[in-house]
Point group: C2
Chain length 130, copies 2
C-alpha cells in the first residue's frame, strides 16, 4: 500500500477543507462524516487524537474535548483523488452528540415502500396513491 | 431505528449536494465518498442502483454505467444532522476506477515516523531532524 503526504492532498477542491469518514477500527462501523483542514490534520497527527474543523463552530476542535468521547487514531487512509480521508479510530463512549454510538443511527425511508416516499418520488400519479 | 424522508435532508448546506459514504454491506468496507443531489437520490431509490452527482462531469451518473461495476442498493442511513448519507451496497467488481476494490487503498504517511512528515508538521526544529 503506497503512502501519501499531507501536502499532496487536494486542499483546494473544497476551499481548504477535506471530508473525513471516521470508522471504528475494531468493527469498521462508520461513526461520523466531518471535515479537516490543515491545522486539524496537523493536530491529529501530532497528538494521536482526532481533531476536526467544525463548520458549525468555525474552528478546529478536538473530538470529545467537552464530552470526553475522544477518538484515538489508529490509521489514516486516502482516496484515489486525494480529496477525502478515512480516520480509523478507537472511539471512547458514543460518537454522536445525541448519545448514540454512531451519528448514522437512522434510515432513509424504505425504498418505495410508503405513500410519503412515493409522493416525494413523483413516480406515481395521485390516483395510484389513493 | 427511526426513519427520515428525503425532503427532510439538508440540501442547502452544500448547495444542493449531500456527501455519500458508500460501504460494501457484506464487509462494511468503505468503497467511495461521493455526492448525491435530489435527482441522483431519486434515481437511486427508483432503480435500486446507486447514482451519484459526479462533480468532475457536472451531471448525475449511474455508478458503473460504463465499467459495469454497479452498486446494488441494500440500505441508506442518515446522520444526525441530516447532511450526510451512507449507501450500503453490494458492489459488482472493483469500486475504484484504478481497478482497486476501494478508492481508499493508500495510507497517509505514518504518524511522525518519517523526516518528510516531521518537516510538514513543523513541530521539530531543523537541528532535531538531522
Amino acid at each position: 500500500m503506497s503512502a501519501v503526504r499531507p501536502d499532496e492532498l487536494d486542499w483546494e477542491k473544497m476551499g481548504g477543507l477535506i471530508p473525513v469518514i471516521t470508522q471504528e477500527a475494531d468493527t469498521m462501523e462508520v461513526l461520523t462524516l466531518a471535515y479537516t483542514d490543515n491545522e486539524a490534520l496537523e493536530l491529529t497527527l501530532k497528538t494521536g487524537y482526532a481533531h476536526y474543523f467544525r463548520r458549525s463552530h468555525g474552528k478546529v476542535m478536538k473530538k470529545g474535548v467537552t464530552s470526553g468521547n475522544v477518538q484515538k487514531m489508529v490509521d489514516i487512509l486516502v482516496d484515489c483523488d486525494n480529496d477525502s480521508l478515512i480516520f480509523l479510530v478507537n472511539q471512547t463512549g458514543p460518537a454522536c452528540h445525541l448519545g448514540e454510538r454512531t451519528c448514522f443511527h437512522r434510515k432513509l425511508l424504505p425504498h418505495l415502500s410508503s405513500k410519503a416516499e412515493r409522493t416525494f418520488m413523483g413516480s406515481l400519479s395521485r390516483s395510484e396513491l389513493d
